[in-house]
Amino acid sequence: MPAMKENDIRFIKLLILVNGLVPLALLVRDQAHNRLGANPQNFLILTTGMMTLVFLVLTMAVTPLRKLTGWNWLIQFRRMLGLYAFFYGCLHFLCFFSLDRGFSVSSTLTEMVKRKYLIVGSIALLVMVPLAITSTNGMIKRLGGKRWRALHRLAYLAAIAGVIHYYMQVKADVRQPLGFAGVLAILLGYRLVVYWRQPKPAKVLAHGRGE
């Protein structure tokens, strides 16, 4: 699949858009039918958080996949995946704010300052705010590719903080957060390897000794 028609790209974008809403639709449907289990509050908070991590990982997977396969058109879907991560992250916070803290701003703030896992989680979500705002074509142009790319490296921080936030709450069975951490480590590790392998022309030349 070397190249993709504009029309096909648009269709795949539509597929991502629709499929990204499936978990939300099922959450709403299960909630309406009282089928979220014994602790629906907890389930809603947990599942929206989980979806945030899933989309963060998917977003992080685009670049390595694109480089390994040569399918450059994959890049066209990254924005939507990233925005979905932000979307579910916001829902996750709203669920916490409403269901866990009963819409109390003061109790939310005191709790967020007191609990390390909430501080880490807040960092993950707040970091995504400027990324979502600057995700438009217009903003990419205004910032310039180089600066935009530098800013959007914050996505790594969001993903790492998100996984740590999850890990910090688990009582004993850390297999799931470690699973996320493992996948993320591979995706970020790939970038590091690529970075190290890159020839660094200026420095190499300046310090290179001819024999």
């Binding site: 289990g37 014994a38 509050q41 004993a172």
Partner: protein
């Protein structure tokens, strides 16, 4: 001679039909992906369903001699949590670390030939067959609050009798200061024990005066039925003023000892879980607040009560004890 390139007009697809055909296929693809995503989601988040049909308990004393809502704390006057929720939201790592996954994983758990060894510093130590054990005292219905260390709670109509009745039967020696409890160790029957999430077997302990207090229940049923496996069949401990993890399930050994016994969670994370584990809204878990709780079946969180609302009955046992240090 035929013209090879000539396609008859009537065989050329009408553009309108061509595009509608493509739209049709694409709609199909989109629908298929949505169904697939939905199925994956459902696979990961199954809807809890299941019934409880363990045998009814014969001769259950539902209206004990003591009046309801009295000072014993035996019957709390709060709405009972549904049987469905009590039996499908369980912390029982021996089967699964997923609270909703315990009930399916525990289905068919075989308790035939169950024995409980009551041993240690006792004049008449004894290995009880389950039937024999349950005959020590008639089963009473006790309606207790249950507060999990994770911040949720239930109200459970248990069936059982005070642990003191069993301990009295073996006649503890005067140097028995603590009681140690142990869960069955059998990774074949308890699949959760195949991974070393915790140090198996699960062990718990109580001070002698805690163990002998009438509120401390040796439970063999709930909602008038024998305990379902996911709730700790065939016998478990219920200590309503302590966090739920103190209520050790599927007990095979009870030992009277002189020194404070080791307990699974306090050994796993000593800074997070103590030996006492009394419910205390003023002493937070290092990672989360214990001031409020999510009562299962309710919408908002409710404030957590000191000693889970059993301060009147239990407070005196801990007079002079620093509850911050001895959490």
């Amino acid at each position: 001679m035929k013209e090879p390139n000539k396609i008859p007009d009537n065989e050329i697809t009408d553009p309108a039909f061509y595009f509608s055909r493509r739209t049709f296929i694409r709609t199909g693809i989109a629908a298929a992906t949505v169904v697939a995503t939905g199925l994956v989601y459902r696979q990961l988040n199954p809807v809890a369903k299941g019934t409880v049909n363990t045998p009814l308990i014969k001769g259950l004393v539902t209206n004990p001699a003591v009046a309801a809502a009295d000072a014993t704390g035996f019957r709390v006057a709060e709405p009972e949590t549904s049987l469905q929720d009590i039996t499908h939201y369980n912390n029982f790592y021996e089967f699964s670390t997923d609270k909703e996954g315990v009930a399916p994983a525990a289905t068919g758990f075989n308790t035939n030939g169950w024995q409980v060894s009551v041993e240690g510093l006792a004049r008449k130590p004894k290995v009880f067959d389950l039937d024999e054990l349950l005959k020590i005292s008639p089963p009473e219905e006790r309606i207790y609050r249950m507060r999990c260390v994770e911040g949720w709670s239930m109200v459970v109509p248990w069936a059982g009798f005070s642990l003191s009745k069993l301990l009295d039967a073996v006649e503890p020696l005067s140097d028995a200061k603590y009681v140690a409890f142990e869960t069955l160790l059998d990774p074949k029957r308890m699949p959760g024990q195949r991974s070393d999430v915790l140090n198996w077997p699960y062990v718990e302990g109580l001070r002698m005066d805690e163990a002998m207090h009438p509120l401390t229940l040796l439970a063999s049923g709930l909602y008038g039925r024998a305990l379902p496996p996911q709730d700790g069949a065939p016998v478990r401990l219920v200590i309503p003023w302590k966090y739920g993890f103190k209520g050790i399930k599927s007990i095979v050994k009870i030992k009277l000892v002189a020194a404070q016994p080791r307990t699974t969670w306090s050994e796993y994370a000593p800074n997070e879980y103590g030996f006492y584990a009394n419910v205390n809204p003023q002493v937070d878990h290092p990672r989360w607040s214990q001031a409020t709780e999510q009562r299962i079946g309710e919408s908002g969180r409710r404030p957590t009560l000191m000693f889970n609302g059993y301060e009147e009955q239990m407070g005196h046992l801990y007079a002079g004890l620093d509850l911050r240090k001895n959490f």
